[in-house]
Amino acid sequence: MNEPKFRYMKDLPSARLLGSGTAMCAGCGGLQALHGIYDILGEKTVFINAAGCMTLLSVYPFTPFRGSWLYTSMASAPAGAQGVRDGLDILLEKKRISTEEDLEVVVLTGDGAAYGMGLSSTSGAIERDLDFLYICYDNEGYGNTGQQFSGATPHGARTATSKGPRGFTGFKKDLFSIWAAHRPAYVATIAGAEPLDLANKIEKARNLKGPRLLIAIAPCPTGWDYRPEDSVDIGKLAVRTGIWPLKEYIDGKVVHTKIPHPRLPVEEYLKRQGRFAHLFTPAPDTALIAEIQARVDGYWKGVV
């Protein structure tokens, strides 16, 4: 078994390569994950950014990146990545750039693009075995426009377009499995609140070739309705309640990288967020809470 590069939190980089001064909300869980990712990927990267909250990272003439950034429509970031990768490959072939000058092509999209509009172009890119990294910051809704539901919204959550007594009546898509079913080089789930796990997965993905896709849970104070200071706690609780399984797909196998022992009740996670407040007040909706718990239990039963 390979030794992880980062064994302890203190082994993590402290460079903070991603510039501050961005327009992301105070306490943004997606930004927290991104700066951890960027510290490891470094500046020899091109970010292909689909429309979403993180479009606002680079608003001319400001950018937090130290390398290039390209903006695409919501559905077409993987197609943009194909163009950039091809361009770099041509430059390499013509010896206009050296292999040291080559760049890692990184797609950055929210869940609206990853789980919905951009799924087709992602599928195509994996099919073509595009050598790229895909990072989805998943805040479980269209956060940039006021948190309307997306294909990533969990069952029961209140959104701007799911205001009924039972919140969102649909179910969160299993994007990890959808991606893994394409048999790409690497798929993983990560959380900014679990920086060691995140760092080792990014490090692993960085050293592979082909399509490598990661989904970062992105606790969202604005869209999930909690105080910004709780972002990390909520990310940790998503992992400890088993709602957000940390896992990776590599060499045809799915491996869980952090199995919560003991697994906390889902209420611990749900009750901290305003988007689930209707499950607790005026009277607890025990049936719906039990339903959410049963689904999480069912998942883990299949794991261990």
Binding site: M9, S20, G21, A23, H35, P221, S231
Partner: protein, 308 residues
């Protein structure tokens, strides 16, 4: 025409406040424009909204440059140039500030000749999700304009806040009407501004650039991490302060968890907060295992540099 500008922070309900005030004026028979200025601003960032109301058709568009009434829901915004609170404030402009400091003090501080009113009750209004900090100023503003009845204000609050639920309507109604009643002696202090002509507008402070070739004029950025030029520290209302006598230099916690990556690590391994960019999310305060970081009000007595 009445020209009213609201200044507040993202999350204080400025957009809703302007909408409530716009609705009251509409219900009183005015033609109304109201809306927030949209941009990349987020919770805590300075932002503004505006209301125009006139008995005649409104031909003006865009931001309000010469306001009759300026409402400030957060007095910490006034010294921030980027917030533009005092833009176009003339002698006839009424300034309404949510502040527990005396109007006289503000007049002296800002060297303004026009009327300044303060709403002490609003300065410390708790902001919880269903209660809008800005509803107090809306209630007061409605009275200052002088053409809005208490009953209209009540109806407008009910109408605009109905989607938030009965509880939210009640608490905001109580606060909005309380502010209306408090300002009853000042009824009608705000006077309608005259007509403006496009020709009388001062040209904005823009710079003309010659038309360049695409390679030069295309919006490409040729420097790294230029976002650091944007001082997001102005978003902050609370300041995290590290007590270095308690800090045990486990920087990998506060610095790694800082969402904006603004806690740097110095040569001795101590975390250092970059206050020019810290947005005041307080994740570091919540995560510090030794409780060595505390949150203090940005504009209070105790802003001494305890960090040094």
């Amino acid at each position: 025409m009445y020209r009213i500008r609201f200044h507040g922070r993202g999350g204080q309900g400025i957009k809703t406040a302007s909408r409530i005030l716009g609705t009251t004026l509409f219900m009183e028979g005015f033609e109304v424009q109201d809306g927030p200025r949209y941009g990349a601003e987020r919770r805590g960032a300075p932002m503004f909204a505006y209301v125009r109301a006139s008995m005649e058709p409104i031909q003006e568009r865009g931001i309000i440059r010469l306001p009759d009434l300026v409402i400030v829901t957060d007095d910490s915004l006034i010294p921030i140039p980027a917030a533009g609170v005092l833009t176009g404030v003339a002698e006839r402009t009424v300034l309404l500030i949510n502040s527990d400091e005396e109007p006289g003090l503000w007049r002296e501080r800002l060297a303004l000749a026009g009327p300044i009113l303060t709403l002490p009750a609003a300065a410390h209004a708790p902001h919880i999700n269903t209660q809008l900090t800005s509803v107090l100023s809306t209630g007061a503003a409605a009275n200052l304009i002088g053409v809005i009845s208490r009953r209209t204000l009540e109806e407008a609050i009910r109408k605009e806040l109905a989607p938030l639920g009965a509880g939210a309507v009640e608490v905001n109604l109580e606060n909005g009407l309380k502010a209306f009643d408090l300002t009853v002696v000042l009824k009608g202090s705000v006077r309608e501004g005259g007509k403006t002509q496009a020709a009388s507008y001062d040209p904005p402070d823009w710079i003309d650039l010659p038309f360049e070739e695409a390679a030069i004029s295309a919006p490409a950025i040729h420097a790294t991490a230029t976002s650091e030029r944007v001082k997001t520290g102005v978003w902050r209302t609370m300041r995290p302060v590290i007590d270095y006598s308690l800090c045990n230099r486990c920087w990998w916690i506060c610095s790694t968890f800082c969402a904006d990556g603004v806690i740097r690590v110095d040569e001795e391994g101590y975390p250092r907060i970059d206050y020019e960019h810290c947005k005041g999310c307080m994740i570091c305060v919540a995560q510090c295992p030794r409780h060595a970081i505390s949150a203090i009000p940005e504009h209070g007595e105790d802003t001494g540099e305890r960090q040094e």
